[in-house]
């Protein structure tokens, strides 16, 4: 077991249960399904007149999605204060963050879901397409991460 979890399992399990509780809390209080990636389209509806971004489902959800995102930021701040471990910055090169981010944004919106949308909300509502999406991005993610390591990338 230990070889697969060199950093222990407690914080992973606790964090996962809290994330599930957060998605559950949003659903029980408001009835809303809280994936994250739609935020990145719905926020464009404030700025872009393109027909896609003026769809009712994006305009009607943009406010709560921004509040949800503000909560995410706040949760990170609270964790930072609570843990007392100090801020930590990634060493992933900026070009990988930008290009990777671009593909994530494009792919998640084409797919209508990301790790939280398909992975948590989709699986939790027993959606077969979401299971297929999760298996697909796991496969291409694993392949890409291995390829990057193999060619000596970060």
């Amino acid at each position: 077991m230990g070889q697969f979890f060199p950093n222990g399992i407690a914080h992973y399990l606790a964090g996962g249960l809290i994330i599930g509780a957060a998605v559950g809390l949003l659903f029980i209080t408001t009835g809303l399904v809280g994936g994250m990636s739609t935020l990145y389209s719905s926020t464009w509806s404030y700025f872009s007149k393109q027909p896609f971004f003026q769809q009712a489902n994006l305009i009607n959800s943009r406010q709560w999605r921004l509040a949800y995102a503000a909560g995410l930021l706040l949760g990170g701040v609270i964790w930072l204060a609570w843990s007392g471990s100090g801020a930590w910055q990634t060493g992933v090169p900026v070009w990988q963050l930008v290009l990777g981010g671009f593909l994530i944004g494009f792919g998640a919106r084409l797919s209508n879901g990301c790790t939280s949308g398909h992975g948590i909300c989709g699986l939790a509502s027993l959606q077969l397409p979401s299971l297929l999406a999760v298996l697909t991005f796991l496969a291409t993610g694993i392949a890409t991460a291995h390829l990057v390591a193999w060619i000596g990338g970060y």
Binding site: I9, Y12, G15, G16, I19, G20, A22, V23, L26, F27, I28, T29, T30, G31, L32, V33, M36, Y40, W44, F52, A67, Y68, A70, G71, L72, L73, G75, G76, G86, W88, T90, V92, Q96, L97, V98, G100, G101, F102, I104, G105, F106, G107, R109, S111, N112, G113, T115, S116, G119, I120, L123, S125, Q127, P129, A133, T136, F137, T140, I142, T144
Partner: protein, 137 residues
């Protein structure tokens, strides 16, 4: 009603962001080490989160007529088509390249991992290109 919903979205988001930070999903290095089979912790995070969410999604509509501060429980079916799968494949390539997801990118900023701003800008750019040029159904 509207303000109440925004309040609960903020509270749920804060809980979400705390969980993402606690589980170290805001660290791309941890996600990349999962994808390289060095540390399988991400499976515990995803499994734990999906299990609790499953209970809420399955039980709440059976036990309650409607949400505490909302009109109805939203159903958000995902569609089985080629866009869902191709999009997921592209998402995975980006994920394997940078180790960031849309949620942790934002929560990570809150916990002081400011280089993730580059990823957030990339995600917004990718979402714009998708909506501008690839929105057909």
């Amino acid at each position: 009603m509207k303000t109440t919903q925004l309040f609960w979205a903020l509270v749920a988001g804060a809980l979400f962001g705390f969980g993402l930070s606690l589980s170290a999903m805001v660290r791309p290095e941890v996600v990349l080490s999962f994808l390289r089979f060095k540390d399988l912790g991400l499976l515990l995070v995803l499994g734990g989160a999906a299990t609790v969410a499953l209970l809420a999604y399955q039980l709440a509509p059976r036990l309650l007529d409607k949400p505490f501060f909302g009109q109805a429980f939203v159903k958000h079916p995902s569609s089985l088509n080629v866009r869902t799968i191709i999009g997921a494949a592209i998402f995975g390539i980006g994920w394997g390249l940078c180790g960031v997801c849309p949620g942790p990118a934002i929560a990570g900023l809150g916990s002081g991992n400011w280089p993730l701003l580059a990823a957030v800008l990339g995600i917004f750019a990718g979402a714009w290109v998708q909506g501008r040029f690839f929105f057909g159904r």
